[in-house]
Amino acid sequence: MRIMIRFCLITASLLTTGVLSSSAENADTIRLTPMAQASAEQLRLPGRKPSPYEIDWSILVEWEKSQVGSFNFPFPNSLQV
């Protein structure tokens, strides 16, 4: 048996830039935000300070963003990379 992966490919449309708008508009339940552009509230959610690396490479994924506000970790000190 082998695995077939049907939803891997991103269409060529990803290579073109369209009219700027919120990326959340296309996602019913999933919201993507690069950590470098996250709001103070979003950055507070993990309850720790982001590492310098995360600022460049991290994409935050909020699933069911309407309930994220219930998430409350106390603030931070470190991150193991």
Partner: protein, 254 residues
């Protein structure tokens, strides 16, 4: 919907670059994400690595050779699609390498010991011959590189064999049957079970620490001649219904 009370995941796109030649990883830096219209986010930058991989030292970037790294991420109702493009502009051939994609679902709180996704299973899963299995025994017995890289797909074994034959040496990997290119986890909520998973037909290495927890894939590519382009795609599924539903939604077919 409304299944995840406060779930916060993180993708690292990509986190580091490595190969199956030797036990070493180089952190990637310098991604500059901008909105890509209605198609999510994109970055296109010169390929840069971190010279001193210590958070205390901050980011000290350097360019190991000329190359371009692009990435696109896009969310839809039940998945996130990730596309990496790497263009070799070094003027020489580059050996086969692996870009590491991390899907982090934990590491929160002041002591980094709390989950950022309440109800997320500490045990995560991988697939072999179409069947999900617990990850911990694999991670515990077969780990061969940082980020708990602990299993090779067929592509991974091909990379490994290439280095072993050409150079007479490669990362020491305990023999095991090739695995499928998927890592997954379940989330128990008050209203039922959900699942998340990361899959790619370019997967070469499976990894991700139980302790974080995270579910990671190393996407293999190359060798690349000067001017060659590597396109790598991965999909993360976010579904209600557990692993069977995840398998169905991200089209894992026996």
């Amino acid at each position: 919907m409304g299944k995840i009370p406060g779930g916060l995941f993180q993708f690292s796109v990509p986190e580091f670059i490595t190969s199956l030649k030797r036990r070493h990883v180089d952190f990637v830096c310098g991604q500059r994400w901008v909105e890509n219209g209605s198609d999510g986010w994109k970055t296109e930058v010169p390929f840069q690595l971190v010279r001193r991989p210590s958070p205390k030292d901050g980011i000290v970037p350097y360019i190991p050779y000329r190359a371009t790294l692009s990435a696109w991420v896009k969310a839809s109702s039940d998945r996130v699609d990730i596309h990496l493009r790497f263009v070799n502009r070094s003027g020489r051939q580059l050996d086969s390498q692996v870009f590491w994609i991390c899907l982090l679902s934990g590491t929160g709180g002041p002591d980094s010991d709390q989950l950022t996704v309440p109800g997320f299973s500490r045990e995560t899963f991988f697939s072999r011959q179409g069947r999900f299995q617990p990850w911990y025994p694999q991670e515990n017995s077969f780990v061969f590189m940082p980020a708990k890289g602990s299993a090779l797909t067929q592509l991974g074994w091909e990379h490994h064999e290439f280095y072993r034959k050409r150079d007479g040496t490669a990362i020491a990997v305990q023999q095991h049957l090739a695995v499928d290119g998927v890592r997954a986890a379940i989330i128990e909520t008050q209203s039922g079970r959900c699942a998340v998973g990361l899959t790619s037909e370019s997967a070469a290495i499976l990894g991700g620490k139980i302790m974080n927890p995270c579910t990671d894939l190393g996407l293999g590519f190359g060798p690349l001649s000067d001017g060659d382009v590597a396109d790598l795609c991965a999909t993360a599924g976010f579904v209600e219904g557990g692993l069977p539903q995840l398998k169905k939604n991200i089209s894992l077919v026996d």
